[in-house]
Subunit: 415 residues, 2 copies
């Protein structure tokens, strides 16, 4: 099917070079049966000494690739030398055949590049449950890709792992540490089957910062909660969700090996900003999305409670259809807060749409203006903020509206 | 807006007379501002000696009417003399004004009918958060309705409390106990904002069985779990959900006062069948519904676990859009099972669409037929069954598909 481009689509940004990273993309033919010629596999190679960190879907039906990455992160000690990802087939729910595909691919990566398999990472995205007829389908393609390795074309790599994405999504930044320029380049794919509470879809961030695996892993887990785990398109959770950071250490800075290193603050800020920008881009390319909405919950008894309430609002189909229609139906916000079953004070409940307060003290504002509320909902981007009057804690999540295009895309995805 | 009638719409059934119940309906004008003339209030009056039982939404933003019913059920000792419900305004999130409306209505009911306020029940359904300008708007209408009380016109009563419903929904049955004919008549409204885990929307069952309040209450709570709490249209939970049973005792049977009474079995079966039929009708009139789908989960470690998995499947927008498109996208069933985070055995997972097995032992069937699977999804009614291979327990829920009409209805609801 032809996908209409998201209204939030932006040209792919200029991402910085990251020392110690090489890449190649190619067309293996996953989309050939649909009559489409496009790149559908990428190979990244990392210089020796590269550390990594990863967070993965907590789905009970995680893909074979996710299971491998989790295992490699343990056995390889958090070092990385190569990454292969394909689109067009998710390798989830493929049983023994899925594991055979991984073994063949890892063997090819290890043999071609001369590295340990425990330093090789995998990902696959696309239709669930269709085993590859040839387990070596990807593996046999690795030597051809390896021969083409060179400085990354970030946009080409991103396009190789897109599925229902309507634009290529990347974000990066650079900073100075001890006189060394340290670079971050991040790429992400994902548009549907997006829900918080895990790393979402496939996102990779490459940096030439020097940072020990355990410090990087801890940092990534913290940042994920406020970025990738705080977005939702449809409340559905992928079997393949993966977020990884690869740090080559080739910027020249001396390595960070402790959480107490004062230089970690600027690294954390850079990583946070790249993660947040990539996460927002996923929502902005949410299937059928026409609106980008920030949901902020204040006055909750804890961060966890605030987050549950925010997700109920962000995932409610009644609220998402109202957003699509530009109907400032704040009664449905009340409904979603109620169904969260979290502690709230109904008589202190207050609601704002951007700066327009529509409810306070558990009832509509005396001077409520439908016009003012509707004007906020008519915008492509706005904030829904509620104070549930029960405590001091807050949380923010980001979501999009539910439009006819979501139904069209998901009725036709496999055809 | 004009609503397209559900393809499952059926003529209103012939419900039996229930001794000891009188009813009147009328048009108060809740819909007049939309240029529609229709009945929008009903009054039921019950003979002295009527017991009742009720289950209500567990929403933290429950309507003022729900809060009153819960209070009355305690203070009135489970006896009932009157019920007033209106459509067009839900009286939820209306603050002190909502409570004033209830007090005025209860005073009118008590005064006009000469009964205790603690024996009077209330309900309201419609837009959330719009307080009535005149707290006595409904109360002032009660004398006019009381003057018209007579044998119930069940269909007219049902039509008076419909909102986005596209057909009037009722179910009833009769049985013989000790030579006495005992009758059950049930009516329900509800189409969107339907999710399990509480009594859904407004449903009332009237019977002339004689049964003590505490026995009836316990029975109703048990039955709710397998009927009204096992349906979902959109995963959203109303602020007004109410299910009540009124038992006038006028059939002539001697009262049931204990759970050990052997006659309770046939009463329970009758009540269960009426609840289940009403619950199914709500799904069949789900907003925009074109398909009615049974989701059965076997092989779970407990009933609760099976139910969580079934609800993940039934509420997934990706699965519901695939149902709408007739796309037998079973990979999304795998996704939903995984995101439930319940204990499963991925390598033993099996999936059936009606009698067509599409997956076993955690992978697609070797002889998988897309044609056979799609033929099941093309039907207006079918069953999705999964065995998660972890235990011996099962649960069943019922749902509908997610269509363009759902988005149209909910983008235009308030206009």
């Amino acid at each position: 099917m032809n996908l209409t481009q998201s209204p939030f689509a932006t040209p792919f940004p200029n991402l910085p070079d990251v020392k110690g990273v090489r890449c190649a993309t190619g067309s293996r033919g996953f989309y050939a049966k649909r009559g489409v010629t496009r790149d559908d596999v990428f190979l990244f190679a990392f210089d020796e000494g590269t550390t990594c960190a990863g967070v993965y879907t907590i789905s009970r039906t995680a893909s074979a690739d996710v299971l491998w990455c989790r295992e490699a992160l343990q056995t390889g000690g958090g070092t990385a030398r190569a990454l292969v990802a394909n689109s067009g087939n998710s390798n989830a729910f493929t049983g023994p055949k899925g594991r055979e595909k991984n073994e063949a691919t890892l063997k090819a990566m290890s043999g071609t590049l001369g590295v340990e398999t425990s330093q090789c990472y995998l990902a696959a995205t696309g239709v669930i449950g269709e085993p590859l007829a040839d387990p070596n389908y990807v593996g046999a393609f690795v030597p051809e890709l390896a021969a083409k390795l060179g400085p990354p074309d970030w946009e080409a790599a991103t396009r190789a792992f897109m599925t229902t994405d309507t634009f290529a999504k990347g974000a990066g930044t650079s900073l100075d540490i001890d006189g060394h320029r340290v670079n971050f380049a991040g790429i992400v794919k994902g548009s549907g089957m997006i829900a918080p509470n895990m790393a979402t879809m496939l996102a990779y961030i490459f940096t030439d910062a020097a940072i020990a695996h355990d410090v990087l892993q801890e940092l990534l887990q913290e940042i994920t909660g406020e970025t990738f785990n705080a977005i939702t398109v449809d409340g559905d959770t992928s079997t393949s969700d993966t977020l990884m950071v690869f740090a080559t250490g080739k910027s020249g800075m001396t390595p960070i090996t402790s959480r107490d290193d004062p230089r970690l603050d600027s690294i954390a800020m850079a990583l946070h900003s790249v993660c947040l920008e990539l996460a927002h881009l996923v929502v902005k390319d949410g299937e059928g999305a026409q609106k980008f909405v920030t949901v902020q919950v204040d006055g909750a008894i804890s961060y966890v409670s605030a987050r549950i309430i925010a997700c109920e609002i962000a995932n409610s189909p009644l609220i998402k259809t109202a957003m699509a229609a530009g109907d400032a139906n704040w009664g449905r916000i009340v409904m979603a807060i109620g169904k969260s079953l979290e502690p709230i004070n109904p008589d202190a409940l207050a609601i704002w749409f951007d700066d327009v307060q529509v409810a306070k003290d558990g009832a509509r504002m005396p001077d409520y203006s439908e016009e003012a509320a509707s004007a906020v909902f008519a915008q492509p981007e706005f904030t829904v903020r509620v104070d549930v009057g029960a405590g001091e804690d807050s949380a923010t999540v980001w979501t999009c509206d539910l439009t006819h295009a979501y139904i069209d895309i998901n009725g036709a995805y496999r055809t």
